[in-house]
């Protein structure tokens, strides 16, 4: 499971790209989410440990960068799990072509608790680099958004 979002597995997040089996053993191919994601080391260790416990000791992890990880790879069921956990799933903001828009016409983010769209962004970042911090004006709770990348 993802160490920061323990309701989602690394397979559902699209971090695990492939599994290779040969005479030397198992190799799991992963791709990092963010360049600086500090959870990647833990994820790699946990993959090796899980495979060891399942009867495949000495499994290796290989990291690939191409194609670049994108939140588009997060499975639809996983998006609902995020919401149930209190994290708004990623919203594609394709309308904004400008690098620094003067008027941010971002699609309204739905509060994962009360579903209101009267929400505002308090910080582009949150407890982790992949999430932003928002506030719901209706139920008055802060929540995080998994940013689209």
């Amino acid at each position: 499971m993802d160490p920061e979002v323990p309701v989602l597995s690394v397979v559902e997040l699209g971090i695990v790209r492939d599994v290779e089996l040969d005479d030397a053993g198992v190799t799991v191919v992963v791709t990092p989410t963010y360049s600086g994601c500090p959870a990647m080391r833990t994820i790699e260790d946990e993959i090796v440990a899980a495979l060891g416990a399942a009867g495949f000791p000495g499994a290796r992890v290989r990291t690939v960068f191409s194609p670049a990880w994108t939140t588009d790879w997060i499975a639809p069921e996983a998006r609902e799990k995020l919401r149930a956990y209190g994290i708004a799933p990623p919203v594609r903001d394709d309308a904004s072509e400008e690098l620094v828009p003067l008027h941010r016409r971002a699609p309204a983010v739905e509060c994962p608790y009360c579903r209101s769209t009267r929400t505002e962004m308090r910080s582009e970042f949150g407890s982790t680099a992949c999430k932003a911090t928002l506030f719901c004006l209706d139920c008055r709770q802060p929540f995080e958004l998994f940013k689209a990348i």
Partner: protein, 254 residues
């Protein structure tokens, strides 16, 4: 990739990696000291992105050099004269306006540089760039929106933002100066000519600065030297702080 390009590629990857490692470290110095909590979080996260990108690039540099130097060895056991970052990223963090204006100017340049690198003939470098360019887009947006808020803000915020811009402008030219290292890599299809990135940077940067009601400084002599190890007096002090733990325990491992 021919052998003759490797020394140039190693130099180039150090430049890319050091730009991000040094800037990431400067940003991390705000952790616990930013004016508001949301910015403490934002700057620390951007620092993390940058240090992460720096680590990936330095790791690739070490592999290219082929002498067994890991990203940690390169980050913690080189002296200032061996660093290849542009001068603009090593300048002390200054006030919030200085950090924001510097972040904006550098992030926009980085965005166009990474966008070009996604088309590099070097597959691994292109892969790292494809990842980093998306993160950098968020950095540009964050810094750009703050430039608008500070420039077109109160008298004090405007004045601090203008002072920052005036102080930083002479360091922007170095980002677009190429030398024989760049030329070799342009020939190999690995890297863009830095000068070719300037028009896009200038258009985007001046657009936001103008909307922020800031005055563009007159063109001045552009400071340079970082790409060949001639740094300001600031880098040595920064590295002393950054490297002391690793250097106090040579050979230690996590």
């Amino acid at each position: 990739m021919t052998d003759s390009t490797s020394p140039a590629l190693f130099e180039y990857l150090l430049r890319l990696g050091d730009d991000r490692l040094v800037l990431g470290h400067r940003l991390s110095q705000w952790c616990g000291h930013a004016p508001i909590l949301e910015e403490d979080i934002a700057l620390a996260n951007i620092a993390l992105d940058l240090v992460g990108q720096g680590a990936l690039l330095l790791k690739l540099a070490g592999a290219t050099e082929g002498q067994g130097r890991s990203e940690d060895a390169l980050a913690y056991h080189r002296d200032a004269v061996e660093f290849r970052n542009a001068l603009i990223v090593e300048l002390p963090k200054g006030d919030f306006a200085f950090t924001i204006v510097r972040q904006f100017l550098v992030s926009v340049a980085s965005y166009f540089q990474l966008e070009a690198l996604t088309k590099s003939a070097h597959a691994e470098l292109a892969g790292i760039a494809a990842k980093a360019v998306k993160e950098t887009r968020y950095h540009v947006r964050h810094a750009g929106e703050w430039v608008l808020k500070l420039g077109d803000g109160t008298e004090e915020s405007h004045h601090r933002a203008q002072d920052a811009l005036d102080a930083l402008w002479r360091y922007t030219g170095e980002l677009f100066m190429g030398d024989e290292v760049d030329a070799a890599l342009v020939r190999a299809g690995v890297a863009p000519d830095p000068a070719s990135l300037e028009p896009a940077w200038r258009a985007q940067a001046t657009d936001v600065l103008r909307r922020a009601t800031l005055q563009l400084p007159a063109d001045v002599y552009m400071q340079r030297g970082g790409r060949t190890g001639r740094h300001t007096e600031h880098l040595g002090h920064m590295l002393a702080e950054m490297q002391i733990v690793a250097r106090s325990h040579p050979g230690a491992e996590w």
